[in-house]
Amino acid sequence: MSKIEKALRKAQRESKALVQKPGPPLLAGGSGEAAASKHRDDGRSVSFGASSTIALMDQPETMLPSERALNKIILANADDSPARRALRSIRTRITQRVGTGGSVILATSVRPAGGTTFMAINLGAAIGLDSAKTSLLIDCNIRRPSLHGLVRGKRKKGLTDYLTGGCDEISEIICSTGIERLRVITAGEQTDHGSEYFTGERMHRLIWSVRERYPDRQVILDCPPLQTPDTQILLQHCDYVLVVIPYGMVTESQIRSSLRVVDPNKLLGLVINDEPHVPVMNWRSLLKSTVARLFSWRR
């Protein structure tokens, strides 16, 4: 572990201790997320501001920069990669359109492996770059779930567990990620019933709850491609649709036919993903190392 990583972990521990030190009764029952929801479930019209909600959040061990880089998640700072710049720009444009929070954005693609999950996570991370904003990712790709890798700490139940009645409290399925101001609801353990999950009343309630309870929070649904029945059902639940177009993989006609199922009023826009970009490489050192390797191979 490098010195920087050690220093970061130390700083996290200290900040965690600072949050937990006053020991308010709201936080005693579990995570900050659960405490906030419990407070609201009392029926009082008490509403936390973004900063107070965020302050109440139980921030687990932050994901290290090296881990984030490995998982292809943009860094919080000290990174000026083109991808980060592009994602921040996209976040800003989305915020201008949808407002500060409380809306549900469905992220989907026009073909499988189109980069929806990458876009959803990084959009959430980009929203979290602003200390006054939070986001919640919901893994709606039940057949090919992928967000459970983000979960830090104890693994909780997921979306399908909630939808099938495995648990009743939304707070029980919201997990910390290690990324600042980003929470996630994983797909869950129950994955047998396919699209029937999203047509039930519980799905309505879930969407309503996350929208109403956390007005400062941007909810992002990570969905399968547009052509799948799951996504077409979820289109009814969302406020906005963000369509990911994988670079050089789909034709204009494919995009047009995919977009027919989307309500034009909900269509937030398109994002081209995975545009080729050659990383900065030290060619001189590469050349030297190549020559060195060739000679060492000869010996």
């Binding site: 444009r93 050089g248 204009e252 995009i255 826009g269 398109l270 081209i272 993903n273 080729p276």
Partner: protein
């Protein structure tokens, strides 16, 4: 797909990177082929002779026109065509093959044809202008190229003189044959005319004195003129087409004259119907016709005889090999340097192609592939806002993989270039 011009370079760079493996494969393949070609490419040595071919006719221009017609003097281009026909004709190439020992008397026609074809394939004839022709022969052996070129020049000189002699002899024989035919006709007409005279028919003219016999009755005068015109027409038709103004004019005059003669004959016939003997009149008319025909044939015969003499002179000139001035301006030489495409050119072209061809392939793919790559194009076509394009986010492992890939690429490209340079150097110092 319509791509904005300003985005083409960045798009090209992106696609080159994306399809780097294809680019590398193309680069290596082209270089292997090119280097192989530069090694296997046989050295080609070329020896050549420059000859000057000029018509050295001792005949004056008028006579040349008469002998060969108005278009008879060969132009430079015609001389080149003639030389080409002779050089690449079967005689020269088969003779050369025989001289070189490629074929012998016992060889079949097919073998001779094949040998001649091979030799012709290595031979080139270039028109340098102003009668100068360059004959070149190339071979992988410089000495062989030189010796073959020398032999080819000798064979060619003999063949071209032979060709000229044959052409003039054929011309003479044709004119001679025509002259004999007219001579026979004239003889037959004279015999007939003599028989008519002996039967007491008054003949208005004769062969010898047709032009000078005076005075003649008007009808006979017209017939004599008609004979003259017909003779002129026949002479003109030997040199011009029927549409030529002189020919047309002569034909019209003949037609008018024939009309006049016909009217006069009708009048004569009417006036003579009272008491003259019809038989005598018929004989007289026949004699007039024979006289006219005799005059025409005599004129043509005289012209043919003049031409025949000229053709004979031409045959004799060519027999003495004086018809063409055939001068060797530049002797065949022993080539010291190979000609044509050199290995260094092949290597340079190969390296250039190995860079340009992959770029060309990628450009073609970009323009032919209808898949979306550019945000502005996507927004324009779908009328949906494009929020942005997210470049690939590199993970450390991916960067490491890419660096390894780049090392391989550097090694392969370096190796290929090293081999290319080594091959080029070895060819330059003539190791192989």
């Amino acid at each position: 797909m319509s791509i904005p011009k300003d985005q083409v370079p960045s798009l090209l760079w992106n696609e080159l990177y994306l399809r780097r493996q294809l680019v590398l494969i193309l680069f290596v393949s082209i270089n292997i082929i090119g280097i192989g070609a530069s090694v296997l490419l046989p050295r080609s040595y070329e020896s050549s002779t420059v000859v000057l071919i000029e018509d050295k006719d001792i005949l004056d221009p008028d006579l040349q026109v008469q002998v060969r017609g108005r278009r008879g003097i060969p132009a430079v281009r015609d001389r080149y065509a003639m030389a080409k026909d002779v050089l690449f004709g079967p005689n020269v190439m088969v003779s050369l093959a025989r001289d070189l020992g490629l074929v012998n008397e016992g060889s079949s026609e097919q073998e001779k044809e094949q040998a001649a074809g091979r030799l012709a394939g290595k031979t080139t004839l270039t028109n340098l202008g102003r009668g100068l022709l360059q004959i070149s022969y190339r071979d992988s052996d410089p000495r062989k190229a030189y010796e073959t070129m020398q032999r080819l020049t000798d064979v060619f000189i003999v063949a071209i003189h032979q060709h000229k002699l044959e052409a003039s002899t054929q011309s003479f024989e044709f004119i001679d044959k025509q002259a004999r035919e007219y001579q026979r006709k004239i003889h037959a007409l004279e015999t007939r005319l003599r028989s008519l005279r002996s039967s007491g028919v008054a003949v208005s003219g004769s062969v010898a004195g047709a032009a000078t016999s005076v005075p003649l009755p008007p009808l006979a005068q017209h017939r004599a003129r008609l004979a003259e015109f017909e003779s002129q027409l026949a002479t003109l038709r030997l040199s011009f087409h029927d549409s030529h103004p002189d020919v047309v004019r002569a034909a019209r005059q003949i037609q008018e004259l024939q009309e006049i003669i016909r009217l006069e004959e009708t009048q004569q016939r009417q006036s003579a119907s009272a008491g003259e003997d019809r038989e005598a009149q018929r004989s007289s008319v026949e004699a007039d016709d024979i006289t006219r025909e005799l005059l025409v044939n005599t004129t043509i015969y005289q012209d043919l005889m003049r031409r025949r003499e000229n053709a004979l002179v031409n045959v004799n000139i060519n027999r003495a090999q004086q018809g063409l001035e055939f001068k060797i301006q530049e002797e065949a030489y022993l080539p010291s340097q190979p000609s044509g495409l050199r290995p260094r050119h092949v290597v340079l072209i190969t390296i250039l192609m190995s860079v340009l061809l992959p770029i060309g392939v990628i450009v073609a793919l970009i323009f032919m592939d209808g898949r979306i790559r550019i945000g502005t194009v996507l927004a324009e076509h779908t009328k949906v806002p494009v929020l942005g394009s997210v470049p690939h986010l590199w993970s450390p492992t991916e960067v490491q993989d890419l660096e390894n890939e780049a090392r391989w690429g550097i090694a392969v490209v370096g190796l290929v270039l090293l081999v290319a340079i080594a091959m080029l150097t070895l060819r330059l110092v003539q190791v192989f």
